[in-house]
């Protein structure tokens, strides 16, 4: 066991540190500083700068816009950048999920053209998997792709597509054969979203934001050379993409602990420092033990990945624990404040209304990328090897699977 950098890693860390000090902005106070559009534009600018300085997509090959470094350098970068307030969320899915999919399935020419533009945030990418009738059960999707000559015709609807409103391209999973079982009739493609048959509608969330979108396809067209993987073998390809999402989830899911600790250190309750309040201390113990456990679990995953391993379903753990913790923390702090805790924009609200925002965002974190219940299923079945439930959809042609879903 060893937490020290190698000599090369130490050099890289020093370089990253000094570049960040000169180029990155400090953490903002509030969660919601600026409009969503402002933040998006800041993020694009930041990625341009990063790319030009050689700090984008560190683990990607150089010819595709990366730096050809090992996973451990990415970890070091993440550690250093976490001290700053640069927005990241708009490109995580493109770079984390779509990039690897292209790396595996796209043609050499496509990779050389598309990946560097992705790395520099010249093109934003999104992932088009979930549907109104297929959320937890992604493979139950119904968006059709039908082949005519050398092209595919796409009809259907996707939902929960992060960043679709900014995206030039997407990676889409479609049904190409409804006569076989649901996992066996799927095909994955890249799709150009700037074409007539595609309509993107932002979804307003309960917190007022719109990170997610509905995307409608009405005879949209995909050339066959945009296909990622073989026809009807899209499920395997999609699993690879989702596996990459897991690592991102494991390391990125906000659990709210740092904010809670900051609040406890900085605030009074009835004139007594919150950090001296026994109930607050009791919660600090509970949540720190979980927070530290998730963080150290990430170290174990990083070690495994650095040794050439693949991130397993274990990554579900961080999101499962963190998402609920985030919600409980926000609610707990509000419950210390009586009526004033309801205010979202008052000068007396601690941390610029962070907890009031968080209590509204948290339910979404518990749902995005798999609900708590799906996460527990994944752990039980894929990690612990427990038997599946009797499946009403097993071995039945997709078109015959019982469904009461009527759309949204």
């Amino acid at each position: 066991m060893d937490f020290n950098d190698t000599k090369e890693q130490a050099v890289f860390r020093a370089k990253a540190k000094s570049w960040l000090a000169a180029n990155a902005q400090a953490k903002r106070q509030g969660l919601m500083a600026g409009t969503q559009e402002d933040r998006y534009q800041q993020a694009v600018d930041w990625y341009h700068k990063r790319y030009d300085a050689g700090f984008s997509c560190l683990t990607w090959p150089k010819e595709y816009g990366g730096q050809g470094l090992s996973q451990m350098y990415q970890v070091i970068w993440n550690q250093e950048v976490s001290h700053y307030g640069e927005p990241d969320e708009y490109f995580v899915i493109g770079i984390g999920n779509c990039g690897p999919a292209l790396m595996t399935f796209a043609s050499e020419e496509q990779k050389q053209t598309l990946l560097p533009r992705m790395a520099r945030a010249d093109d934003i990418w999104c992932q088009l998997f979930s549907e109104p009738g297929a959320g937890s059960d992604v493979a139950g999707l119904s968006t059709k792709a039908e082949k005519t000559g050398d092209e595919w015709n796409i009809n259907g609807q996707k939902i929960w597509t992060s960043g679709a409103q900014y995206s030039r391209y997407g990676v889409i999973l479609t049904r190409t054969d409804p006569e076989v079982s649901k996992y066996r009739g799927l095909t994955m493609f890249m799709i150009d979203l700037k074409q007539p048959g595609v309509e993107v509608k932002p979804i307003k969330q309960i917190d007022g934001g719109s990170h997610f979108n509905e995307v409608f396809f009405n005879d949209a067209v995909i050339p066959d050379n945009y296909r990622l993987g073989e026809v009807n073998e899209g499920w395997g390809a999609a699993l690879m993409v989702l596996m990459n999402e897991r690592l991102a989830n494991a390391t990125a899911a906000p659990d709210g602990f740092e904010d809670f600790l900051n609040w406890a250190k900085a605030s009074d309750i009835d004139g007594v420092p919150a950090s001296q309040d026994p109930i607050v201390r009791d919660k600090l113990a509970t949540w720190y033990a979980q927070h530290a456990g998730v963080e150290a679990t990430t170290f174990r995953m990083i070690t495994a990945v650095a040794k050439g391993g693949v991130p397993g379903a274990e990554g579900s753990l961080g999101k499962l624990v963190g998402a609920s913790m985030n919600q409980e923390i926000a609610n707990f702090v509000i419950q210390q404040l009586d009526a004033g805790g309801q205010l979202t924009g008052d000068e007396s609200t601690p941390l610029d209304g962070h907890f009031q925002s968080a209590v509204l965002m948290a339910p979404g974190i518990r749902l995005a990328g798999g609900t708590d219940e799906i996460m527990r299923n994944i752990i039980a079945e894929q990690v612990l090897g427990l038997p599946q439930e009797p499946r009403a959809d097993k071995g039945i042609p997709y078109k015959d699977i019982p469904s009461g879903n009527t759309g949204a």
């Binding site: 307003k204 009835d270 609610n331 205010l343 009403a392």
Partner: protein, 368 residues
């Protein structure tokens, strides 16, 4: 022992439910949430016509002279339908305080007008998040005039009168009645989690004010008033819990995943079972508190705190898990789940939050 509402009370409840189902759809709540108004004045007039504002006000002051139990069942239905009217502040708080502690002149001036729905009144006691609930550090009274600032006042934007806690020049902490239609009062709508029931900050600059209740009695009166309001609120919360669970059940029954109704998965079913348990505990505690309130039993303080603690926990749990069982759609503005989740937040804090009431519960339990 008869631990159940009477047939008459149940009839009032059924009628209230039917009326609200018809006239208070969630679209009315959304209109206020979207900022189109601060309350639904048309609905307010309708429920006044039904006599709800007059329910627990004595007959001599223009009320119906019914008991608190009748008000409880109405509260449960208002909570279920999230009706956007200033009932909470006017009836559970202001009318109760005036009826219990006002002088004869104040009662005659205000109660008939409240019963008739002509006066909206609110309670302005909070000054700063994290400050002790009953302290009035920033609000002073002297020579018939009141100055200072109150925050998070429910229905403060539209109210005609406010009951305000303040400290006088002798450091005595009392309540004052203030007509809000005065030049030197500035009211500002404050953004809050549940914008379907707007909160206001109110700044008083030498506003004319008259004492309400005994001298230096603010803490005693507010303690009692919050106990009484806690009972009504727990019924509002109960109604909200029931609506949240029902939404979740209805949605998951007709929603399919993996070839099965989502409601048939054990993980989902057990969430509903846990909701049911939380609701039944909250219901039973609310009933007990309602009984104690109705006969003014010495168990009221403990019973009120217990009902409130249960109701806060149950509504938070049911409303957040209702979002969860809906999956992604539960997180959209379009679906109604968030209306309940936000209302659960508001009601959990508005007369002292969970922290305060848990401490009340324990002190009272140990004093028994």
């Amino acid at each position: 022992m008869n631990f159940e509402f009477s047939d008459d009370q149940k009839l009032i409840q059924d009628q209230a439910r039917q009326f609200l189902a018809e006239h208070s759809p969630l679209s009315t709540t959304r209109k206020v949430m979207d900022g189109q108004s601060v309350y639904d004045s048309h609905l307010w007039k309708s429920i006044v016509n039904l006599g709800w504002t007059a329910t627990a006000i004595d007959e001599q002051y223009g009320g119906l002279g019914l008991g608190s139990l009748e008000l409880c069942v109405i509260a449960q239905e208002l909570g279920r339908s999230l009706t956007p009217i200033p009932f909470f502040s006017t009836i559970y708080l202001a009318a109760e305080i005036i009826q219990q502690h006002g002088n004869e002149q104040q009662k005659q001036r205000l109660l008939p007008s409240i019963a008739a729905g002509e006066t909206i009144a609110c309670l302005a006691s909070s000054e700063l998040a994290g400050q002790h609930l009953f302290e009035a550090r920033q609000t002073q009274f002297s020579n018939g005039q009141l100055s200072g600032k109150k925050i998070a006042v429910l229905d403060g934007v539209e109210a005609d009168y406010a009951i305000v806690s303040a400290t006088d020049t002798n450091k005595k902490h009392s309540l004052y009645l203030v007509n809000l239609h005065q030049a030197d009062i500035q009211r500002t709508l404050s953004p809050s989690i549940d914008s379907s029931r707007p909160l206001a900050s109110i700044e008083f600059i030498n506003a004319v004010a008259e004492p309400l209740g005994a001298d230096n009695a603010a803490s005693a009166i507010l303690t009692e008033a919050f106990d009484r309001a806690a009972v009504f609120t727990s019924f509002e919360q109960l109604g909200g819990c029931e609506a949240s669970m029902q939404m979740g059940i209805d949605y998951t029954k007709q929603r399919f995943a993996f070839g099965r109704s989502v409601a048939s998965f054990q993980a989902i079913k057990h969430i509903f079972a846990d909701m049911y348990v939380a609701i039944e505990l909250a219901r039973s505690n609310a009933y007990f508190a309602a009984w104690a309130l109705s006969v003014n039993d010495k168990k009221l303080p403990l019973a009120a705190a217990t009902a409130r603690v249960s109701a806060i926990d149950a509504y938070y749990f049911c409303s957040k898990e209702n979002i969860e069982v809906h999956g992604g759609m539960g997180f959209t503005w379009e679906f109604d789940c968030h209306l309940y989740y936000k209302r659960a937040q508001l009601l959990s804090s508005i007369i002292g939050s969970s922290r305060w009431w848990r401490e009340q519960l324990v002190s009272r339990l140990l004093d028994e």
